[in-house]
């Protein structure tokens, strides 16, 4: 993808070129009104909803862990692992993510509050809130500001230079998905940039690193020591350990997929750093509208994604209770239609496929995938080999050629 600002320069159609400043401010006013409608009747039934979800999640977790005490018995292993995976997903998404956003702070229940909640994840809530709520939600899809775009390890935009290392990106992306909770913890810790800047001795970093390690130790002790040990009487130590590992991986793969769907599918726009200087509330809203993508599907899917399937609504109103996103989605969609903007929504499978397609496309030089077909595959692979092994000049020349061929083909 190319940032919205470059699109305008390159003569491609910018999706917001037709909007006047007055239009953008009007969009802001209309979105504020949608938000206010929900605030005005937020109440007892919403509170009952989140308590019901928490209650259900805890009962599923208790039930699953009890069943796993007998996990040497294969049906118990399957049932317990499935239950625990579901419980961990609920804890992570509909409960943890949304409580930590402050969506339920209005209830003034000290037990369900963004400032006191902790979740079943490697990353301590406090650190995640900073990198997610503050950085990602404020600077959504701004290249160089929003590290959620590729988590600082991926090539997420055509404008970023392709290097041979980019070829490994699908593999990294997959490994990151499997161990997502640790990836998030390292990312919240800004581990990459701290190492790069040689700031590992910084006392604040030390404090935060200690916090993360402490959390990881507790989490690992629970899943890989205490519960397996409790299963020893039935000879289920290893099966329970495997079940807990599986549940963590299932949760990791699932939440990674949902998050990839949020901002990475084809059709989601990115923005230049300069473009957000002096940004108005209306412009911020428009950036959220175009920088997010939804997943369409059933009520169960929405619940399991923590209503991040309503990513657009969530990014517009991160502090509204998640159970309300579904009801405001038609109003938000109508606003997109009214101002002729593209509401990016697809079912889960195509959306995940689209995100992965982009991961793979950007792991290859610009234009390579578009100019490759079954007939010319051998020659194209040879070009790729030359680019991967050649010096910078070779890469630049071959890259330019590919780009011009792709433009001609288009």
């Amino acid at each position: 993808m190319t940032t919205i600002q470059k699109k305008a320069v390159l003569g491609q159609t910018s999706p917001i070129a037709h909007l006047t400043d007055a239009d953008i401010e009007q969009i802001g006013i209309e979105l504020d009104a949608i938000r206010q409608d929900v605030l005005d009747d937020r109440g007892a039934s919403d509170a009952a909803y989140i308590r019901r979800v928490i209650d259900t999640q805890r009962k599923i977790e208790l039930g699953s862990r009890a069943v796993l005490l007998f996990s040497a018995f294969p049906p118990a292993w399957i049932l317990g692992t499935a239950g625990l995976s579901i419980s961990k997903i609920l804890d992570n998404m509909e409960i943890g993510h949304n409580i930590l956003h402050g969506q339920w702070d209005w209830m003034r229940d000290p037990k369900i509050h963004s400032s006191t909640w902790e979740w079943d994840m490697a990353s301590p809530a406090e650190q995640w809130k900073h990198s997610h709520n503050e950085l990602h939600h404020t600077y959504t899809n701004v290249i160089g500001k929003d590290n959620d775009l590729g988590y600082g390890i991926m090539r997420v935009d055509e404008d970023q230079t392709w290097t041979p290392a980019s070829l490994a990106q699908p593999l990294f992306c997959f490994i990151n998905a499997v161990f997502f909770e640790y990836g998030i913890a390292a990312y919240d810790l800004e581990l990459g940039s701290v190492i790069k800047k040689k700031q590992t001795k910084d006392p604040d970093f030390r404090r935060r690193a200690k916090q993360v390690l402490g959390k990881i130790r507790k989490q690992a002790t629970k899943d890989y020591v205490v519960h397996p040990a409790l299963s020893i009487p039935t000879g289920s130590f290893l099966p329970t350990l495997a079940a807990n590992f599986t549940a963590n991986v299932v949760r990791n793969l699932w939440s990674n997929s949902v998050i990839l769907c949020g901002h990475f599918p084809e059709g989601v726009e990115t923005f230049e750093k300069r473009s957000i200087e002096g940004e108005t509330k209306g412009e911020w809203y428009v950036r959220q509208m175009l920088g997010s993508a939804n997943i369409s599907g059933s009520k169960f899917l929405h619940l399991m994604t923590g209503n991040l399937s309503h990513q657009i609504e969530h990014h517009l109103f991160p502090d509204l209770p998640s159970n309300r996103y579904a009801e405001i989605a038609p109003k938000v969609k109508a606003l997109f239609d009214k101002y002729d903007l593209t509401y990016c929504a697809r079912p889960m499978v195509p959306q995940v496929a689209s995100a992965w397609h982009k991961v793979i496309r950007l792991s290859l030089p610009n234009g390579w995938l578009a100019t490759t077909n079954t007939k010319n595959a051998p020659q194209q692979l040879a070009v790729l080999y030359k680019m991967a092994t050649g010096d910078r000049r070779t890469r630049r020349l071959l890259g330019r050629k590919l780009e011009s061929e792709a433009r001609a083909a288009a």
């Binding site: 938000r35 007892a44 208790l62 702070d105 003034r108 400032s115 404020t138 020591v225 205490v226 911020w284």
Partner: protein
């Protein structure tokens, strides 16, 4: 030769250690949650849980008052008649705390009760009187309050107005139990000489008036009822006309601030002792801007348009902050008392000590709406 005194290895010390170890294992098995978070799902009233209660029944007393009978959690420590308790209940999904007098002495069935009068615009009182349903879980604090009678007895005057009767009725019921055979006067109450001056708008609007009349008829108290519609508004300067031996009595009063203030002035001038109880603190109507006091000692005079965060930073304070647009909750700090206005939509948030508790507010989008105290 020296001898070392070994502490006796008693069975109880060993079992305590074992219990501690079990608790540690349970905590390791449930982290990041606590074992109690899971136990609360099934036994919220158990011993060791946060103190809660379950509403068992709601009995209407008058058109706008009701007695709520609550089964308290196992750790309820009991109370002395006249004390109050703080109860936290969710109204429209929002936790609200209020204090109400306990209206029974300790009961044999272990239940406790409060009697609530729905006041105009009273969020919680209207909810308790009209909406509360048996089965609802409420949050409690242990009974508190110095508004109690000395057990030795003496001569007392109780001045009550409206729902101010509630702590007094608790004391009277305990002193003079009402049974099928009528009102009793046990020996422990033999030396309590009590006059009750009760003020209410009218006879039908008076909670517990039948109980008071029955106690009066049984001769265990002297009731002087004053109804605004019949007798006019009570003037405390005429109290001696109603209670000639006022000077010999110890006065306990419970009612609205106006009455208590007048009574305090009167008793002060006359050199008489007075014990008072008032639940609702005087409120300040939300305004536009105001003086913000921080716990750290800084005081700022703010207008109604500047976010508290910006103003505090301009004054050189180190404040938690984040997105500065109201989405990340990185700047929330507790509002102890006072009102703030959300600059996005004008919504007012008000913290009242003892009722709302501290409310965590976003300083980046809230401006002062009257004097506030912020804990930072």
């Amino acid at each position: 030769m020296t001898t070392t005194l070994e502490p006796p290895t008693s069975g109880s010390a060993r079992s305590r250690r074992l219990a501690d170890q079990l608790v540690r294992v349970a905590e390791a098995a449930t982290t990041p949650y606590l074992p109690s978070d899971f136990m609360d799902l099934f036994a919220p009233l158990r011993s060791g849980a946060d103190l809660r209660g379950r509403i068992e029944s709601v009995h209407p007393e008058t058109a706008d008052a009701a007695t709520i009978v609550i089964r308290p959690g196992a750790d309820w420590a009991g109370h002395v008649p006249g004390q109050y308790l703080r109860i936290g209940i969710d109204v429209d999904g929002v936790r609200q705390w209020r204090a109400y007098s306990l209206t029974h002495g300790p009961r044999r069935d272990g239940r406790i009760s409060i009697t609530v009068k729905a006041v105009p615009d009273g969020l919680v009182s209207n909810h308790l009187v009209h909406e509360a349903r048996p089965g609802t879980l409420v949050h409690l604090e242990q009974a508190a309050g110095e508004f109690v009678l000395p057990p030795a007895g003496g001569k007392f005057l109780m001045v009550t107005a409206g729902s101010g009767i509630t702590p007094v009725i608790g004391m009277l019921r305990n002193l003079f139990p009402s049974t099928d055979e009528g009102v009793l006067r046990p020996t422990r109450s033999a030396d309590h000489d009590i006059v009750v001056v009760h003020v209410a708008p009218s006879h039908p609007h008076s909670i517990f008036i039948r109980d008071l009349e029955a106690l009066d008829a049984a001769g265990v108290i002297r009731l002087v009822a004053r109804y605004d519609d019949e007798h006019g508004v009570l003037d405390v300067d005429h109290l001696t006309d109603l209670v000639p031996d006022l000077a010999e009595r110890q006065t306990l009063a419970c009612g609205p601030a106006g009455l208590l203030d007048a009574l305090a002035a009167h008793h002060d001038a006359a050199g008489l002792s007075l014990t008072t109880e008032q639940f609702r603190t005087a409120r300040v109507e939300p305004g536009d801007g105001g003086t913000v006091t921080f716990s750290s000692g800084t005081t700022l005079d703010l207008d109604g348009a500047t976010p508290i965060l910006d103003a505090a930073e301009d004054a050189g304070m180190l404040m938690p902050s984040g997105c500065r647009m109201g989405i990340c909750m990185g700047c929330v700090i507790p509002l102890r008392e006072g009102s703030v206005r959300d600059l996005r939509n004008g919504a007012i948030t008000t913290a009242v000590p003892g009722e709302t508790g501290d409310i965590k507010v976003q300083t980046c989008i809230n401006a002062a709406a009257g004097p506030c105290h912020i804990d930072h």
